[in-house]
Structures are given as C-alpha cells and as structure tokens.
Symmetry: C2
Subunit: 357 residues, 2 copies
DNA sequence: CTGAAAGCGCTTACAG
DNA sequence: CTGAAAGCGCTTACAG
C-alpha cells in the first residue's frame, strides 16, 4: 500500500505548479491556465488516479461537506432506515456525506454526539426522531445550520419536517365514509409510551379522523384505547367486535393495531373486509402490504422527511455563504417552525362497503 | 457566531507556546511541562471551551478516526438499524465516528461510495448486507483495514461476521423435539429472492433443522416452499394444515412466515399452540414478541455483527500501527474467513406438546 | 498566463 | 523543561 498521489506528484508529471493543478481540477482553469497545460494536468491526474485529499481541503476551505445526524434510536422502528436513506441519497446528490450517531434517548450521549460532531467541523446538523414528537432544540442546533426530521422544535428555533397527520387521517376516514360506513370506531393507544411523553401523531390523527367523519355526518364515537402494538390492537378489537352495536369498520391508530384487529376478527369468525372493514396507518412495510388481506392505510413520508431536512440545511448553508442582498432570503418566518409533508393514502384490500343488515 | 478558539488562543492565555498546549492536552505533559504550566493550560482551555480541531488533527496525524460503512439497503429490513446501532455504539466507545452510505444494490453507487470514502480518508471500511449472503469484496476492501457484516467474502480476503445459522436452526428444531413432536414440517422460501441470488441462511437453517430432527429420530419431511413473507407463509400453512397427515408442528423459515402460519391456523379454527406448535426465526421485533401468541423463535445477532465487525477493523488498525514482532499477529488464517455468532433461542408461547390423538 | 508564498490548525521532532 | 520550525495536503490571493 504505497503513498497516495498528491497534487505535487501531478504537478511534476504535468510540468506545472501545484497551484495550476488545483485550478484546473477545480474548474477554474479556463482563462487562467493555457489549454495545453490543462490537458497535461488532467492526463497526469488520470494516470496517477489522483483525487484531492478531502481532509486537507476541509482544513483549507473551512468546510467539510459533512453533515452530522443525530437520532434518538435508529432501530426502534422499521422507519428509521427510510429516513436515513432519504437523507443519505440527498447528501450523495450534493457531494455531502453523513456521519450518523444514535443516542438511545440518553441525554449524556446526545450531548456527547453534538460535541464530537462540532469538533469534527460538520457543516450542518440534523436531528431525527423515530416518533413524531416535540424536541427541545439544544443551543448548538440554533447556532449551526440545522433542521429536524419527524419532530417540531418546542423552542421554535429550528425548522422541522413532519408528516401532515391530520390530512392523512382525514383521508383514511374518508375512505370508510365513501364506502358507506356509518358505524366506525377508532382503536388507538395513548399519547405517551415508554420513550415519548408527547406523541404528536395521536391528537392530530384523531382530529383528522374526526373531521372527516363529522363532515360526513357520521357519529363520532369515543376511541377505544389499548396501545400501539399488535396485541393491544387484538384485545381492543376483540372487545369492540363483540359489542351489540358492533361497528362496521375499524379505524386503527397504526398498522400494528390493525394487524391485531385482523387477527381478532379472524378469531371471531368475521371476514375482513366483508364483515368488518379495517384501515391502518403508517404503511408499515411489515404489516400493511403483507397482511392478509393487505391493509388500506396511509403512508408516512419518512424518506421525504430525511430528504427535505437535508435539503433545508443545504439551503441554509448556501445563504450562509452568499447572504442575499437585503439580508433577507430563505430565512425562517417566525411562524414557520415546521413543514407538514403529505401522507398519501394507499388503498389495498381491507375496506369494503358494509353489509346491509 | 464568533471564531472557534484555537490552540494559539489557549497558549496566549496560559502564557505558553502552542506546542505546550498540545502536549498537555494530549496527556504528554508529565515530565515535559512544568506542573504549574500544565494547570494554566488546562484552565485556559476550560475557560475558552477549547477542543482541538479534528480535521486539522486528521491532516497532521494522517488518520481520521472515521470508518466508512457501506450497506446494500439500510431500510429493507427492520434489522439494518440494529446492525448500525451496534457499530455506532462500538465506534463511540473508541472515539470513532461512522459515515454511512447506502447503495441500494446499485453497483455504480457502491463504487462511488467507496471512492468518496477513500477520498475522505476513512481509516477503515465496513460492508454490511441486509440478508446473509455472499459478497465479492472489491479490491479497495482488500487493501484497507475492513470487515464484512452479515455476509461472507467470496474472494476469501475479508473477514465476515455472520450468524451461526445451523446452530440456531438446530436449537429451534430441538425445542419441538423436546416438546414431543414427531410430525414436523418446514415452511420456507427459496434460496433466491428479488435482491439476493444466494441467500446463505436457507441451506444452513435447513441443515440445522434436519440435523436436530434426525438426531432425535424424527422423520425429515420435504420442506414446503412458498416465500419469505406473511402471505406465502399463510398459504403454505393453509395447505399443510389441511393434509390428512397434518403435522403437529411447523418450523417456519422466518417470523413473517410464522405470522402467516398463525393466521392460517386461525382461519382453520386451529389453536396455537394447543393444536399446532409454531416456531419462527429471526426474532423480528415486528412479528415475534408482538404476535398472538408470542412466537418462540431464534434471535439473529445483528447488533453483535455490527459491533464485532467494528471491533475487528479496530484490531486491524492497531496491528497496522504497531505490527507484532514476527510479522504475525491477529492476521487472518487462510481458513478463517468468517466468524459465526450465536443465534440464541428465545422461547415464548407458540410451542406446546402435541395433542395425543 | 504562471509560480512562490501564505495559511487552514494541529503535532512532533529538534534545538536550545 | 520549553519554544521555534517544519510539515500534513490543499487553495487562494498576490507578484511577476
């Protein structure tokens, strides 16, 4: 493993100075360097397989083209990867690279993560939450170009990219309304769980469901609260589906709950969707499409949150380098602390018109 | 946002030279710098919140304490995150940082990923596959300290950390044997899928199942092959459970298939585990524990693969810096191209003794 | 149009 | 025991 070629090596072969090779390779050759020397430089670089050392460049340019992403728990949900994929793809398109850290909800690890990222001179910071929640942005985020994904800043300083839950839930409920259902109950969990004490998706989904139902003149029934997993969904559905006034459709707070509901229907000898319609939420790849029957659900825009958050910091960086004339520009409006991304409805096989009784 | 403090700033406050602050802060002060000056340096650094610039350090030291990880598809499975978490945690413990890239099975993106990682002077490289498979290590991995996670190098050059599938499957089958089952059929998929043409888990799991069954004198039945998802599992189970010689237990190639089998049993009015026992594989957080009943399964050591692969490159790096006396050391044995990590059995509620008929 | 010099922020021999 | 100098590999004014 011999020494990597440097600009000096290229310069010697091409018979020019190091400055010349830098200019040529950075596209500033035209008008500065004679055409034949440019050719010589490119040839030499090619021959040697020369490519400039990023760390030297970073030191000189005072920017690393690296963005740090800290996440509360990549692996908690099947979605973390998608968010990361979106951010990675966007970074790749722009010649950036991501260093990712994971805090597992540990404040000390989080602080450490920010510190090492800052020491490593990342150009910008991203914070991503696995569940749609509130996040109090630490000071470092506020003085560095940054963005949040799947959470909103309770300090109101950093822009967050989040799912448009109320529109999504509204669309989910509308599917049921359109199919003719009048007896619909919502199966959901609490606003808190072990790791988040304020799950924003909960009230927003409920608001969306309720809005669509009430707009169609469908009676809003008190939600049945179990939890967010398969088993609570199973148990809640088991109870609801044995009531005298059994609903014709179940609106489930997420796809896991919906999967539990499918199982419960099955245990009660009820067919889905003929006897009971079920709609989920999340488009969880593990539960929605693979279910029997495949679930009608609403897709959470994880990939998009990652992409958009990355692109936002890129814009911030650009403003930074070239502030717009009047000092205004793409800067944040005071009101605009989050942008809501579409949650598209995905219709599959778990909804049918209600049986006329 | 004012200028970050540099060693020079600290030196001025402390009244020493820049070299002195470097020495002190790197723990080489003792015996070189007077005690009171050491104190002064530390105080000044503290006061300024000084912390050395990693990129300058990287340039000077010619190592970045960064390792590049390229993965075929982080988000394809719920496991990708766990592997990454393991690697990130190990990196964090050693003051390293990970830059992660994702190729989505695209050869051009993969090549690009390695190139940018090399340009960025990562100290080592990790390649992680989402399904246990073969990987032909590119040349760059062979001339850089590196390791594979969840795949084995078909070129035999780079050490891979993989699950011990045969032992795991053997344990899964043994649970059934111990419970008294004699009629067991395996529900599984093919050795290929859309993205991998050689899924190593398949033959190994089958070998493990078979070994345990035959050792116990249980007849080995031809596996029923559907696929690796819930629906194929459902369909295969539906067929098998309606046979005249209905087995008393189903050994499922993974937890999704097992979930499908649970659903099929339910549709046929068969109780799990009383009428039919089911065991899965993977300990898929989405399907195993949350299932009704919770699945007995085998855990895939994703976190461990990430950790061990990282630690391996660390060891390689150490050898690199300080080659062992005789030139030998922790180098790879010719035979040792992969280390198999334990897949622990996790017993839950889907296995019971067979009904005596 | 081109090359020599300075400097990004560090660390490590090397003189004193 | 301490400071001045060199140098990691680049890029960008600045002289010529």
């Amino acid at each position: 493993m011999h020494r990597r070629p440097t600009a000096k090596d290229v310069a010697e072969i091409a018979g020019v100075s190091r400055s010349a090779v830098s200019m040529v390779l950075n596209g500033r050759g035209a008008g500065n360097i004679a055409a034949d020397k440019q050719t010589a430089v490119r040839a030499a670089a090619e021959q040697l397989g020369y490519t400039p050392d990023s760390v030297a460049r970073s030191l000189r340019l005072q920017r690393t083209r690296t963005v740090g992403v800290v996440t509360d728990a990549i692996a908690t949900s099947p979605f973390g990867g998608r968010l990361l994929e979106g951010a990675i793809a966007a970074a790749e398109r722009h010649g950036y690279v991501l260093v990712v850290m994971d805090t597992h909800f540990d404040a000390a690890r989080e602080e450490g993560a920010y510190r090492t990222l800052v020491d490593r001179r990342v150009d910008a910071l991203l914070y991503a939450a696995m569940s749609y929640s509130r996040y109090r942005s630490p000071e470092v985020l506020q003085r560095t170009p940054s963005a949040l994904a799947n959470c909103v800043d309770s300090a109101g300083a950093v822009l967050g990219f989040v799912p448009d839950e109320v529109a999504g839930a509204s669309a989910a409920a509308q599917v049921l309304v359109d199919a003719g259902h009048r007896e619909v109950v919502l199966l959901a969990g609490d606003r808190q769980n072990e790791t988040y004490d304020d799950l924003l998706a909960v009230p927003r989904r409920e608001a969306g469901y309720r809005r669509a139902l009430e707009a169609a003149g469908v009676r809003w029934q008190e939600p049945v609260r179990g939890g967010w997993e398969v088993r609570p969904g199973y148990e809640a559905a088991l109870a609801v589906l044995q009531r005298d006034d059994r609903p014709t459709a179940l609106l489930c707070g997420n796809d896991r709950v919906a999967a539990g509901a499918v199982l419960a229907a099955c245990h009660l000898g009820l067919r889905v969707p003929q006897d009971v319609s079920i709609v989920g939420y999340d488009d969880d790849e593990n539960f929605a499409a693979p279910m029997v029957p495949p679930l009608t659900t609403v897709r959470l825009p994880f990939r998009e949150m990652g992409e958009r958050a990355f692109e936002h910091v890129l814009a911030l960086l650009a403003d930074h380098d070239a502030p717009s004339p009047a000092g205004v520009g793409r800067g944040l409006e005071q009101s605009e602390v989050a942008v809501a991304l579409e949650c598209p409805l995905v219709e599959r096989g778990s909804v049918a018109p209600p049986l006329t009784r």
